[in-house]
């Protein structure tokens, strides 16, 4: 007798691990058994830190690494015929003899050494030093060169051409960047770089859709601030960001001026979000009486400017530096950064240069200033605007609290929402010790990526993929074969759905960036709209082999010979998309009701039972009965095998196994 789907409605399968935290449960059923929900186990107050996994189903090392160091596993299905990258797998796909499971980045990772540690070390080194070699991404961009032609232009070229010329013009560079970001995340072999570019965009968040100035500046912002420094030196990135039109405009430093025209918006976030962090904020405390660091953290830097007596000798070992910042420090720093401007149509001919310049008559150089120096006015009067502002960025970027703050956020991105403090401390120590190194960020990342915590299976599933990660990972997992670009209806349709999930690119309005913890993303809208986007990907153009967005049908036919059974399809696709098969297999050997994993049970039921609206044929197909191969390409019979096949892949990509990492 079959078990209807709706049994879920009244019975709950409680995994052993998660059930322990359910207050009021008298007994904890073993995984896979059923239990009536106890009245006390209601949904309020349940504080299980994470959820939705099959419990013990931890993927192998390589899958965990690739899922955390980038946008998940890709099986390397592309690279077939050159020419049109959008139809790489089209004509003759079925005749390809490659064993796909042996190519792709899982196989590549396995080839990098003989132990997990060796392979990880080699992969980390390679990813931290990207070369210009990126064949698949390059081929896709080259095939649509005119739709990415603005990405190589300078800030001044773009600004002076587009900024003052109406919405459809000034959004052109932005739109190219947005589509490029999807394409690169999906197809670049430098997965860690793409993941970290996204990280830095959020760390130094600007709202790219604020106005024309932001729209046109985002290409340079992405390239010259984020990508140029993605594994480089943090201060260099900070200084580039401070001088960039995107940041000057977004946080109002471009109107910060002398007299009554002080605007503290930028300096507040420089301290709070970009550098020291709110953990080092002491509000309206008197800056003369806050805690001192003890020894001057700038002394060891040997920075010529911080050592310069004419610039106040801020590295003086006898100068006390505050451990925390106050409102007074923010306001004084804003005074120091007065006069920072960028060229726009008000200051230049045509649309403007979009480049930084210092407007000395708007710079408050009359007073000495105390910033982070416990009331000692160490910054002399009379300094030029650019020099004085640079000192502020150095004081912030080189401060020890900044090392803690940035290290914590990196660990949060790569390991867990609540990363272990010991790991944060290790990363912060490296970050601090290498403040002047050109590869400071790479060194810090190396500490995190080679740590025991990063390698440990006990941190698997701690993170929920944010929509950008989630959707791109799904694209990679199920054989996406499409170039996201501007003048393209499919790309537009995709983006409308994707944006509904709550992580539209470059569109978080406030300067803190998209949240990096699962509680923010565990909402109905994010889940439903993400699932809907995946639904679109799987079913878009599915009847036309040449223009399919996702290659799920082609991958199936190329990988399974003969007439596959429902069980074979489930086992194949769980393995393909999730990267492994547990020792018990996903479905076992019986009917769906006895499948040893929840996902195997759901998927096998989906493939063998009719949908509820059509009860007459409840038992649709045997789990081990062959499905006519040619029916997988079209909904030829009432069994709708093609829709059922893509529907199977959707279920797997929708599952908690896939949405967590």
């Amino acid at each position: 007798m079959r078990t209807p789907f709706h049994q879920t409605g009244r019975r709950h399968f409680l995994k052993a691990a998660g059930a322990g935290s359910l207050a009021g449960l008298a007994s904890v059923p073993a995984q896979g058994s059923t239990a009536e929900r106890k009245p006390g186990a209601d949904r309020r107050g349940v504080a299980s830190p994470k959820g939705g996994s099959d419990g013990t189903l931890t993927p192998p090392f390589a899958v965990r690494v690739l899922s955390k160091m980038g946008f998940g596993v890709s099986r390397g299905i592309t690279g077939g015929s050159a020419g049109n990258p959008d139809v790489i797998l089209a004509n003759g796909f079925e005749s390809l003899t490659t064993n796909f499971a042996q190519t792709g980045d899982l196989a590549y990772f396995q080839s990098l050494g003989s132990t997990d540690d060796q392979r990880l070390a080699a992969y980390v080194e390679e990813q931290l030093a990207p070369t210009s070699e990126d064949p698949e991404l390059d081929a896709r961009i080259a095939a649509h060169a005119s739709e990415f032609n603005l990405l190589g232009q300078s800030q001044t070229q773009l600004f002076s051409t587009y900024e003052c010329n109406g919405f459809s013009e000034y959004t052109r560079p932005f739109n190219q960047l947005e589509r490029y970001t999807f394409t690169a995340a999906c197809y670049s072999r430098w997965q860690l770089r793409e993941l970290m570019v996204d990280f830095w965009h959020n760390h130094l968040n600007v709202f790219g859709r604020l106005n024309a100035d932001l729209y046109v500046s985002m290409v340079s912002w992405d390239r010259d601030v984020m990508r140029a420094n993605v594994f480089g030196n943090f201060y260099e990135m900070m200084y580039a960001s401070a001088k960039h039109a995107a940041m000057l405009r977004y946080l109002d430093n471009y109107v910060n001026g002398r007299g009554g025209a002080i605007n503290e918006n930028y300096c507040r976030e420089l301290f709070e979000l970009h550098c020291l962090g709110s953990g080092a904020y002491d509000g309206n405390a008197n800056p003369r009486f806050v805690e001192s660091l003890g020894s001057n953290p700038y002394t060891a830097l040997n920075d010529p400017e911080l050592n310069d007596i004419n610039l106040g000798y801020l590295a003086d070992p006898n100068l006390d530096i505050a451990a925390v910042y106050t409102d007074d420090d923010v306001l004084t720093a804003a005074q120091s950064m007065t006069g920072w401007r960028y060229g726009d149509e008000n200051t230049d001919t045509s649309c403007g240069t979009g480049l930084f310049f210092a407007q000395e008559d708007e710079h408050n150089k009359d007073s000495t200033k105390a910033v982070l120096t416990l009331g000692v006015s160490a910054i002399p009067s009379g300094l030029p605007a650019e020099t004085e502002g640079r000192l502020i960025v150095k004081l912030a970027a080189y401060h020890p609290a900044t090392a803690q703050h940035v290290a914590r956020k990196l660990c949060q991105r790569l390991v867990a929402d609540e990363p272990p403090q010991s790991l944060v401390d290790s990363a912060a120590a490296t970050f601090l010790a290498h403040r002047k190194s050109p590869d400071q960020i790479a060194r810090t990342l190396r500490v995190i990526l080679l740590s025991d915590e990063f390698k440990s299976p006990s941190y698997w599933g701690e993170k929920m993929r944010r929509p950008f990660e989630y959707i791109v990972s799904a694209m990679r997992a199920a054989g996406c074969d499409y170039t996201w670009r501007t003048n393209d209806g499919n790309s537009n349709s995709f983006e409308r759905l994707y944006d509904g999930a709550g992580q539209q690119l470059f569109a978080w309005r406030t300067p803190d960036g998209y949240p990096d913890n699962r509680t923010h993303w565990e909402g109905s809208t994010t889940l439903v709209q993400s699932w809907r986007t995946i639904d679109w990907l799987l079913d878009r153009n599915v009847s036309n082999q040449e223009t399919r967005v996702m290659r799920a049908i082609d991958i199936t036919l190329a990988s399974l010979s003969g007439d596959p059974t429902p069980r074979q399809l489930v086992e194949f696709w769980c393995n393909w998309a999730l990267g492994f098969t547990p020792a018990s297999s996903w479905t076992g050997s019986g009917g769906y009701a006895s499948a040893p994993t929840r996902i195997g049970r759901v998927c096998l039921q989906f493939m063998t039972q009719d949908y509820p609206g059509n009860q007459a044929n409840a038992d649709l197909w045997g789990a081990d009965d062959p499905i006519p191969r040619d029916e997988l390409e079209r909904d030829a019979s009432t069994r709708d095998w093609r829709s059922r096949l893509t529907g199977l892949v959707k279920l797997i990509l929708w599952s908690p196994q896939f949405i967590q990492r």
Binding site: F5, T8, R44, A47, N284, G523, R532, D539
Partner: protein, 421 residues
């Protein structure tokens, strides 16, 4: 004593024998008008993110406060002639609402305007994110997120009926911090096309999703809520909603969110709390307090029109009682008294809070802002009322949960209720 929420049992329906009726149970009951049997009191919490300039909302119009205000504002100064007088309310002499607030002004007899609310003086902050987080956690001075949100604790502390379908609604794509720790939230920001797919497997896939996420972790619970939300939303006639009393909601997303809250609450699904955000108040630059089309003026106009429509819709509904609704409007802090160099204002401290409901005795409450230069702190208004006192009064007195709820929501906070009913 609270009872358990058992949405799954509700959805399954009593004695449901086939899979079909599970998925459609809720839909059919809503269409039959028998969906809910859980009339609830409703707390609507509106958060104005970005730090609203309270002095451009509740404007001093006479006396020393007005003189101090006028002295330090220039481009963004609002003259008394551009205000709607509150003088007919107790405590209202000397203050007027921004003239773009005709909607709120029309419901002032059910509105409490409370002066100079903010963080306690030992926990002042000018960080948006700290200030918002501490308000939403309900823990001024502490950012320990493990305690969850104050709305979450409120929801856990109030009684629930067994057949509640949803108990909390967040009109956003993601749940706010204020509801953190409370898993039974439906987040809805765009009700149109709200489904994982729309093909022949729509129903089957919903059931598959429910099974995939049938564990007890937080993601399981979120996904279960999502599946239920899909069924609920798809059963509603969103475009066909007719507000009571001939009310028309403005055609913009904040008002639409409030209309959705009203529509769902009227279905008696068990919704006890809803959060709606309105952002864009961080007016460092070009504040434009009297321009209904941009800047502060546009925001305050939307706020006023939408909230007035919502309240009038509830108040006019013959099946509902406005006494069962309370709307709270709060921002993380106010702004400095002095205009900055860019026709805007920088971060300050104290700010008015607004509370609306059938039980509210219209009036202007609290200690008026002390605006003399020497009375400001860093040019901000020094708060004279702790925001927890306002929220406690709402939960305890206005919504009638009694003082015990305050112990649950703000543990360790000693308070006396404001006299606003």
């Amino acid at each position: 004593m609270t009872t358990s929420i058992n949405r799954r049992r509700f959805l399954a329906g009593v004695g449901a024998g086939t899979a079909t009726t599970v998925g459609l149970g809720l839909t059919q009951r809503i269409q039959a008008g028998t969906a809910g049997t859980s009339p609830t009191k409703l707390l609507v919490y509106i958060f104005l993110r970005g730090g609203m300039d309270g002095l451009s909302y509740m404007v001093p119009t006479s006396g020393a406060a007005q003189a101090a205000y006028a002295q330090d504002r220039d481009d963004i100064f609002i003259p008394p002639a551009d205000t709607l007088s509150l003088a007919d309310l107790p405590g209202g002499a000397g203050f007027g609402l921004n003239r773009l607030c005709a909607g709120l002004h029309s419901i002032r007899s059910n509105t409490a305007f409370i002066h100079a609310v903010g963080h306690p003086l030992d926990a002042l902050t000018r960080s948006h994110f700290d200030a918002q987080e501490e308000i939403e956690l309900g823990t001024p001075g502490s950012l320990n997120a493990s305690v969850g949100g104050f709305m979450g604790r409120y929801l856990q502390g109030i009684p629930h009926s067994n057949d509640a379908v949803f108990t909390a609604l967040a009109a956003d794509s993601t749940p706010p911090v204020s509801m953190a720790g409370y898993p039974d939230i439906a987040t809805l920001d765009s009700a149109g096309g709200f489904s994982p797919n729309t093909g022949i497997y729509e129903e089957t896939h919903l059931l598959g999703l429910a099974e995939l996420y049938s564990g007890g972790g937080s993601l399981d619970l979120a996904a279960q809520s999502a599946v239920d939300a899909v069924q609920l939303i798809n059963s509603l006639d969103l475009d066909g909603y007719t507000p009571a009393g001939g009310v028309t909601y403005p055609d913009e997303n904040f008002a639409e969110s409030l209309a959705l809250v009203a529509q769902l609450w009227k279905l008696d699904l068990g919704i006890a709390a809803a959060t709606v955000d309105l952002g864009g108040w961080d007016t460092h630059n070009n504040q434009q307090p009297l321009n209904a089309n941009t800047g502060f003026g546009q925001r305050i106009s939307r706020l006023s029109d939408a909230v007035a429509a919502f309240y009038q819709d509830i108040a006019a509904d013959p099946n509902k009682n406005a006494d069962d609704v309370c709307i709270v409007i709060q921002s993380e802090f106010g702004r400095q008294v002095s205009e900055n160099g860019n026709r805007g204002t920088d971060h300050g401290y104290g700010n008015p809070m607004t509370v609306i409901g059938g039980r509210i005795a219209g009036g202007v409450y609290g200690t008026p802002p002390q605006l003399a230069t020497q009375d400001r702190d860093g040019d901000g208004v020094v708060p004279s009322t702790d925001f927890r006192q306002v929220n406690s009064t709402v939960m305890d007195v206005v919504l009638g949960n009694g003082p015990g709820i305050v112990n649950s929501v703000f543990p360790g906070y000693n308070y006396s209720p404001l006299s606003i009913i």
